[in-house]
């Protein structure tokens, strides 16, 4: 089949007050092609996608779609042209059915146009799902589906507009490997049907599996378009960050203390966790690996008293401690850094100072409950310097910081509270490749200063790079603890799938 161009963007620029978000960017997409756009946060990927889907207007440049010059002036216009976008955060209504979600705003109606024609709607959805080979029930409520299935609903919705171009923004960020494979199968179906897919992902190892070409953006500039078959992940990364980054790094050997600071015995919870026991040593990074749903976050939340335990004991420096609520955990010196910083870690609408002292407010107040703002401000300024949080001042609102700097604010909060045990849940989720390195260095530094770290991560290279020892979980149980020197990706995956077929 001769490649026919579906879409081409040339010389697209977009300026926001004070910043050139996109400068002379090129991109093109053929029928039946999956073309990845990658780059760090702030590289301009989302700006480009928003221009393509009509949310932003470009300043200069030309968009040719199916041979015609077009001006995508609004999301509605994009839909009419046949350009659909599936956002990372899914936009579905959980209490409506699959069919109702797919055809929202375009419902079939009975004669007279007053009453809905559900039979017709469900039939149309059923046909569409069959066409895409998706095993979904049109009448099921979307809220009852897994995230992966919800994503399939979004894809069906995009296809239902008879779109030619489907943009997927980080579609695999919350999928398990099996679900990712299922998604790739759907993408291949779309390819076979001649659709063009624009694929945005942070997971570089996926690019080999699914994409035909890769376009790299950096700081709003077009860097290069590569044929996937002729490139490698290290090359892509070095183009993204403008320098070389080692993917298969392991930690420098650290002197191992045998002092156990935290001993967990037989933790179970209502749903998932079964008899989890482990030791955490002083100054070590204990990685927690496992598939999505293995119970790692649940373990952390049960440990700090955020969710109830049905059994289990926790010992701190050999003494048993009762942890019934997060405030007990904090008192015991255990800080939890959630994978969802915005929801469980930060006060986004408040400034850095407020966020950093949040756990230590009693320490910054006198006996009458009045705040001592001066010592707080100086501690916060020190923390900003020490963790190199990039911000004009400690009064900056946290919502204006990048993901990496937000993560550092959460770290600063726990260091200010003097926590000796830190539980990092996906410490680099949503953080740029460049800033990841910095977080890694910070974790290593904290460990070498004697902090004990539990690091939950779904990224095996990250687990292998950071952990002294690796605990692997599967279906709520701890299936093994491996020394880093004995570990590799295969071994971890074996433990992580122990109870699965």
């Amino acid at each position: 089949m001769a490649t026919t161009q579906l879409l081409s963007l040339t010389g697209v620029s977009k300026e926001f007050p004070g910043v050139k978000a996109l400068n002379n960017v090129h991109f093109d997409l053929n029928k039946g092609e999956v073309h990845a756009i990658i780059g760090e946060n702030g590289a301009g990927k989302s700006t480009l996608m928003k221009i393509l889907s009509g949310i932003y207007k470009k300043d200069t440049g030309d968009i040719v779609y199916q041979g015609n010059h077009v001006n995508v002036s609004s999301p509605l216009e994009a839909h009419k042209l046949g350009i659909s976008i599936i956002h990372q955060e899914l936009n579905l209504m959980p209490d409506l059915t699959v069919a109702q979600n797919i055809f929202i705003g375009r419902e079939d109606r009975r004669k007279g146009r007053v009453f809905l024609d559900n039979a017709k709607l469900n039939k149309a959805a059923k046909d569409l799902l069959a066409e895409l080979e998706l095993a979904l029930d049109p009448k099921q409520k979307v809220g009852e589906l897994t995230i992966a299935k919800q994503q399939m609903v979004e894809i069906a919705k995009a296809v239902s507009y008879r779109g030619e171009v489907i943009i997927m923004d980080e579609p695999t960020s919350s999928l398990t490997p099996a679900e990712t494979d299922a998604l790739f199968k759907i993408i291949r179906t779309l390819k076979a049907a001649g659709k063009g897919v624009v694929y945005i992902s942070h997971r570089l190892e996926e690019l080999n599996k699914i994409t035909d070409r890769i376009t790299v953006l950096r700081d709003g500039e077009y860097v290069k378009t590569l044929n996937t078959s002729e490139t490698s992940i290290p090359e892509v990364i070095s183009l993204m960050v403008g320098r070389k980054v080692d993917q298969d790094q392991r930690p420098d050997p650290r002197p191992q203390s045998s002092e156990v600071v935290l001993k967990v015995e037989g933790i179970s919870d209502l749903n998932l966790l079964r008899d989890v026991s482990f030791d955490l040593r002083k100054g070590e990074i204990l990685g927690f690996a496992g598939l999505m749903g293995a119970g790692r976050t649940e373990l952390a939340r049960a440990l700090i008293g955020a969710d109830p335990k049905t059994a289990g004991k926790v010992f701190l420096d050999g003494k048993e401690v009762k942890i019934k609520s997060p405030s007990d955990a904090v008192k015991a010196g255990i800080g939890y850094l959630s994978e969802d910083r915005k929801k469980y870690g930060l006060l986004l609408i408040q400034n850095i100072t407020f966020n950093v002292i949040l756990s230590s407010i009693p320490a910054f107040s006198n006996k009458f409950g009045f705040l001592k703002t001066k010592p707080a401000a100086s501690i916060v300024r020190d923390a900003i310097k020490q963790l190199s949080i990039r911000t004009p001042s400690e009064n900056q609102f946290v919502k204006n910081l990048s993901g990496g700097n937000q993560q550092k604010v959460v770290i600063a909060k726990w260091l200010t509270r003097d926590c000796n045990i830190l539980i990092f849940d996906e410490p680099t989720r949503g953080i740029d490749v460049g800033a990841k390195d910095e977080i890694y260095r910070l974790l290593t530094k904290l460990a070498s200063e004697g902090k004990s770290i539990i690091m939950i991560s779904s990224e095996l290279p990250e687990i292998l790079r950071m952990s002294d020892r690796i605990a692997v979980m599967c279906e709520g149980k701890l299936t093994g603890i491996i020394d880093n020197k004995d570990a590799d990706q295969n071994k971890i995956m074996q433990y992580a799938t122990k109870f699965r077929d």
Binding site: F16, P17, G18, V19, A21, N41, G42, G44, S46, T47, I304, A306, S325, P326, S327, A329, V330, K331, Y336, S338, K343, Y344, G345, L346, L347, L348, I349, Q350, F354, L358, S359, I361, P362, S365, F368, G369, F370, L371, P392, S393, N395, Q396, F397, N400, L401, S402, K413, R417
Partner: protein
């Protein structure tokens, strides 16, 4: 990305402190500006409007009760909650104060203490319903609103309680003049506002009020005993309800079981006009006072213009829409919300 850079620029410009201050406080500056404009408008229409007699006895005095209620409920709204019970709780506290003062001959100080304690207890009940039974604040306080309404009628036996002249000086709680020309009720409102502003901005309780409203889950995970603080915050709101009830009875010389319903919405309107976000995490006491004054100035001015009471309500409704819509437009332009 664009936002990030814009904010950074904003901070750089912030080297000019005055401009940074104006930018940060623009919401309150605009609210105060509207108050002044409305005031000038009525003064031009009827010069008597600006007489001290009208300003102190008419406008400021009529702000005392809803003003005190609004101050207390500002804390609750900053936590992201709401308190619908403050109106009928005012009636219940007023009746209880009246009954106890008359029966036990408690005097002024004792009566005030009873009011504040009973008000505080009602607030604590709200806090417990919200934290222990985990009822949404709207439902919990709707329930106490109805219960307080009923209890006020039951305790009073459907009759108003008169503060006879036996209770020396009860009328001077609101109407006396510790400071010449300034009614004590206005003084109480002013002192109450200053104390609230200090608590909100300078103390641990105030800081946790903002933290809970910004992100309750993150605050809890940071080791803050959110439930205890919420009970304290609703309790604090209740103390202001108690004070409001005392001032109300002093102004009227009686406690009426049916007087109070509807005050809660006036207080909430004042808080919102004053720029406190119903979503929580943001708000000021000075804004609330400005909001309460805008409402009283409007009502008083419209009354002097002899607009029928029915139409006064309509105007107040329109002003709430205008104030909040205007604030939204401004914040959207400033990129604070999308």
């Amino acid at each position: 990305m664009s936002k990030e850079v814009k904010a950074v620029e904003g901070e750089e410009v912030g080297g000019n402190r005055l401009r940074a201050f104006a930018k940060r406080e623009i919401g309150r500056v605009l609210a105060l500006g509207s108050l002044v404009v409305i005031f000038i408008f009525f003064t031009i229409m009827r010069p008597v409007f600006a007489s001290w007699e009208n300003v102190s006895g008419g406008i400021l005095m009529s702000t005392t009760v809803t003003g005190l209620l609004a101050i207390g409920t500002t804390f609750v709204i900053i936590t992201g909650g709401i308190d619908l019970s403050i109106g009928t709780a005012t009636a219940l506290v007023a009746i209880i104060v009246g009954k106890t003062v008359m029966a036990l001959n408690l005097g002024v100080a004792g009566g005030m203490l009873v009011g504040v304690i009973v008000g505080g207890l009602i607030g604590v009940v709200n806090g417990l319903l919200i934290t222990i039974l985990k009822l949404p604040p709207f439902i919990a306080t709707l329930a106490t609103m109805k219960a307080a309404q009923g209890l006020a009628l039951i305790v009073s036996d459907l009759k108003p309680v008169l503060f006879t002249t036996d209770v020396k000086g009860w009328d001077s709680i609101a109407q006396g003049n510790l400071i010449p020309k300034i009614p004590n009720g206005v003084l109480i409102l002013f002192v109450g506002a200053v104390i609230a502003a200090i608590i909100l901005n300078k103390t641990v309780l105030g800081r946790y009020t903002f933290a809970i409203g910004s992100n309750e889950a993150a605050t809890k995970l940071s080791g803050v005993k959110v439930n205890n603080w919420l009970v304290a915050i609703y309790g604090l709101g209740g103390l202001y309800v108690g004070m409001a009830a005392v001032v109300l009875t002093s102004r009227l010389g009686s406690a009426r079981p049916d007087l109070g319903l509807g005050y809660e919405l006036e207080a909430i309107a004042a808080v919102i006009i004053g720029g406190t976000s119903l979503l929580g995490g943001k708000g000021t006491i000075s804004g609330t006072i400005i909001g309460a004054l805008i409402m009283s100035v409007l009502i008083n001015g419209l009354r002097i213009l002899e607009l029928q009471q029915e139409w006064q309500y309509v105007v107040v409704g329109a002003v709430i829409v205008l104030a909040v819509w205007g604030d939204n437009v401004r914040r959207r332009r400033a990129g604070e919300i999308s």
